[in-house]
Symmetry: D2
Subunit: 257 residues, 4 copies
């Protein structure tokens, strides 16, 4: 029997770090997942654990390395973790790190309230000869009450949707881009493009967002955008709508220069 | 067999309303539950539905009344709904309305991003001779990195918790108060008191919050506060912590003048 | 300022226990919450923790007492916990214990697969002079494809629901009863009554279930039943339906002899 | 700007179907997602919707085709949907269908209770010249109280995990296989192998499960297995454990002949 691919690791490791400045504390909270690939076949075939670093140790390593200043950016913390495992374990060929940063809004020097519900994410994939770092956002909820239409679409025997010249547009955007750029700046471009675009469809707005990001940030080579269409169904009362979570449209594309 | 109590209604009705101003749109989104009590015993005993207004109709009524300007405040929208059912259905003795308002942050005149994850809530209970309106918040997540201790507590044979002179304090506060007060102002007092209090325990901070609200808002007679202790467990690295959701402490009290 | 009521404790404590028999292992897994009331006002007012047993200790106590054979029934384990705190802490006036038992289906002597998704629950409230024990179920999902109607209901200006002489009936039943009875036997009566009843409404079936339980189990004095109406909306294809979670009807009643 | 890849469709479409036999009703409930790829670039670039079939129509198509007897197996229903879109839309190059079947346990001829919480899944990917059908399970929760060890593993400076010669092993298995085989039979082999295997690690048991499935079902060429290690942490009481959801180990491999 052939082991076509295999990986193992620890998922959903939650960790928080206080960074103490003279006049304030910074607070970093995130959820981290680690997966290793390498020479692990004997653990599967023979139950030979001699090369298996426990996933519990990966968890401990996350806690230990969270002491490092690299923790302040998910990309640099992910790189620190990836380098650690590649450096210490010769039989590991590649490391995947997923980091999901929780957003806290500063209240005063030492206190915070929950920030918006979306997450800042970073994905690192590092092997002996190649490193990929992607940055992004998960669950970025945006909505506009006008400036969105959906007309002139293909109809078939099952089509009942009326044309809409002015509808609510809402999405919970996931994005992932490669290349160095200030995260908050990218988020602003996404937000402003969504808000300002004369949308003819979710596809149309997705493209506009990708185009704006690629135009504005020359280091970004490529961006993946996933945009569910979070429907607000019309009622017979013109300004009253029914928000629904399921079903939802789902539009996804990868754009590059 | 005796029917000691009974109620029926519709839960989790989601509704959104655009309020169109010349220069901007306001957007109100909420989840509403309705429960009726009254002369419904024959529906239970005999399957006689002649006095049973369908819960589907309650849903339609929510959509219809969401057209009213009262929708702009959960308390007034809840009152509108309660009065509707008491006014139209003689055999109904009391109506309970629960409203859970989603928070959107304005981006520009016509667009919004998801606000903080907590919810603004209102609870209305209205009978023929009495109305109770409560306002509040659900899931208000606050955290501070210092200014919180837990020391000098009772120990028994199972106690292993070390004393903590300086710990992270985090909670996801639920509050419910009766009496007219600006919701944002109450939230500010809650936030500032949490942040500024030299906390000796969650109980101690809960009391401080309640006291501050009752002192500042003379119309508020009474406040219920529920504060889970969202633990950030220490690691052997001084500034690194493990956030946990379960188990959690849970402190609850009702304070009045 | 007056502290009208207060309680504190630990929630969502998960615990599992293996009971080793010669020929098989039994496995008990549950989630436990504890809340204490008593002479705790000084902890709120003054931050005086001298009478405050840490909630962390309550958690440890749950683990320690889970070693006791009482763990095999949620009611007896809850009583053990309640008596422990009343017995050891003179300043505690009452204890609330909530136990939510996870169901595992036995596969062989030592292995199990996840049972049905509902939970077996027990609620204990014990003070110096009174004990209340309630047993029940949470989230018991039942569905029938025929034998359910909803006709002859009250109509008003907002009613659009058509009469239904034969519809799908589905609910996720919560029940809570006081009095000693075999849990599996009560569940069977609930299931069979739901299945066999010629239902004219959810209210009608709720009553039939309560009546059947009270008739069959003479020790049960009283039962609370909460039955959401989990709608399967018709489509224009006669046998095709749209399952929905929100909104849902919600019917609740307490029945006693 | 280049559109490297794109797809769009409808997700989380819930649908149920009654199949009426003389002596009983069968009931099929599932959640379906559809994604189309093809000649859609103008919708992104220009907002030209002339080739865009609304995702609302995809939803309606699911309801309409659920009338077909193919609905009785997720694989055949998925194929029916995929063929429909490829057949009706010339500009579509490939269709992805994901089906997640809910499990109901039969109670009597016309009534059901919620089955175990895992889901039966099928994934279809069809293009003009190739069709891939995969079958599987999501979230299959299994646990054993003995017959599992984890010893002799690699240790480093961060390793604190003690060796375990006899521990609880629990997982929530995801599997996906290609090739025609009776779903219940595959599930039995998975269950029995998990239960009977003298496990030296999750990896070891994962391999044993894959091997047993490939040996027993000659039509299955390949199987992907994902097995989180759902930890039951030991306490100082030998038979008492703390169930935890996060963090968890995660082991994944693809096995083929």
């Amino acid at each position: 029997m052939n082991i076509v691919e295999n990986r193992y690791g620890k998922s959903k490791v939650r960790v928080a770090r206080i960074v103490r400045h003279k006049d304030r504390h910074d607070f970093h909270e995130m959820t981290v997942s680690i997966a290793l690939e390498g020479d692990f076949e004997s653990s599967y075939r023979d139950g030979d654990n001699s090369l298996v670093l426990p996933t519990d140790t990966m968890k401990n390593t996350i806690y230990a390395l969270a002491d490092d200043p690299a923790v302040e950016q998910p990309e640099s913390f992910g790189m620190l973790l990836a380098r650690h495992f590649l450096g210490h374990l010769r039989h590991v060929s590649s490391v995947k790190i997923d980091i999901c940063g929780h957003l806290w809004s500063r209240n005063d020097r030492f206190s915070f309230t929950a920030g918006p519900p979306h997450r800042r994410i970073a994905k690192i994939e590092a092997s002996r000869d190649k490193v990929s770092v992607e940055s992004g956002v998960s669950g970025y909820l945006m909505m506009k009450t006008t400036g969105s239409a959906f007309e002139g679409f293909l109809r078939d025997e099952y089509t009942t949707l009326p044309e809409a010249s002015d509808r609510i547009l809402a999405t919970s955007l996931d994005a992932l881009w490669s290349g160095d750029a200030n995260w908050d700046d990218v988020m602003s471009v996404i937000t402003d493009t969504f808000a300002g675009h004369a949308s003819k469809s979710v596809q149309h707005t997705l493209y506009a967002i990708g185009e704006a990001v690629l135009e504005r940030f020359e280091n970004i080579e490529r961006i993946r955008l996933t945009m569910p269409n979070k429907h607000y169904l019309p009622t017979k009362h013109a300004d009253v709508f029914i928000p629904t979570d399921e079903p939802h449209g789902l539009i996804e594309a990868v754009l590059s220069r």
